[in-house]
């Protein structure tokens, strides 16, 4: 298991009460596994089932295996422009 930091923004940061959180995931875990771990955190149950996750500044699919050293972030629905 490794501890990974996940950056949070906007509504999701409010839901989990922080700008980032730490979660434990197994080696070779996928984005789906990461989301499951996040949803198990206090306030995490309010997260949608398939939130968008950014890996190294690019949106990643649920099946993507999480690279060891990539920055991870949870992105609420975008509302720029």
């Amino acid at each position: 298991m490794t501890t990974r930091t996940v950056l949070l923004f906007a509504r999701y940061a409010e839901l989990l009460g922080a700008a980032s959180v730490e979660v434990e995931i197994a080696a070779g875990a996928t984005i789906a596994d990461l989301v499951a771990a996040l949803r198990a955190l206090p306030g995490g149950a309010s997260l949608p089932a398939n939130p968008v996750v950014a890996v190294a500044h690019a949106k990643a699919d649920a099946a993507t295996v999480i690279p060891e050293h990539a920055e991870l972030a949870l992105l609420p629905p975008l509302a720029g422009g």
Partner: protein, 146 residues
């Protein structure tokens, strides 16, 4: 580079892409409106995942400049804004108006779907809400007044 705390200035953006061989300059400015989803908006605040937003904006500009024979300038405000403030500005300069319009329009659409920026609106009744284009009402249902 693309995200700005301070007011956007269209003439400056235009000057950054205009040139003697580019006579068609199309631009788009998104301004904070006084209403959204049926509620009177007093103001709003943009937040961004800074590093990714900068990187995505750069990628969008590069993609537009390879798709069309254009030069593109893009700027997005972050932080608190009042009604009437420019939130985003896109300028596309080309030799002809077709590519200028097409690129300008493509970039503003892409910003909305690609750039990790979020908008929290303040309403006249004191409530606030995160804008959520995927939600039916355009804002996240449980707008809290925090």
């Amino acid at each position: 580079m693309f995200l700005h705390q301070h007011p956007l200035d269209l003439p400056t953006l235009i000057a950054s892409v205009a040139s003697d061989d580019r006579g068609a300059i199309a631009s788009f400015v998104g301004v904070v409106r006084d209403h959204h989803a049926g509620r009177t908006v007093l103001g709003l605040e943009y937040s961004a995942y800074g590093p990714m937003a900068e990187q995505r904006c750069a990628a969008l500009v590069a993609q537009a400049e390879t798709t069309w024979p254009v030069r593109v300038a893009l700027a997005h405000r972050i932080g608190p804004l009042a009604v009437g403030d420019a939130a985003v500005a896109v300028v596309a300069a080309a030799a002809h108006r077709g590519p200028a319009f097409d690129a300008c329009r493509w970039v503003i659409e892409a910003v909305k779907t690609e750039v990790p920026i979020w908008k929290r609106e303040r309403y006249r009744d004191g409530s606030e809400a995160w804008v959520d284009p995927t939600a039916p009402a355009g804002v996240h249902p449980t707008g809290s007044a925090t």
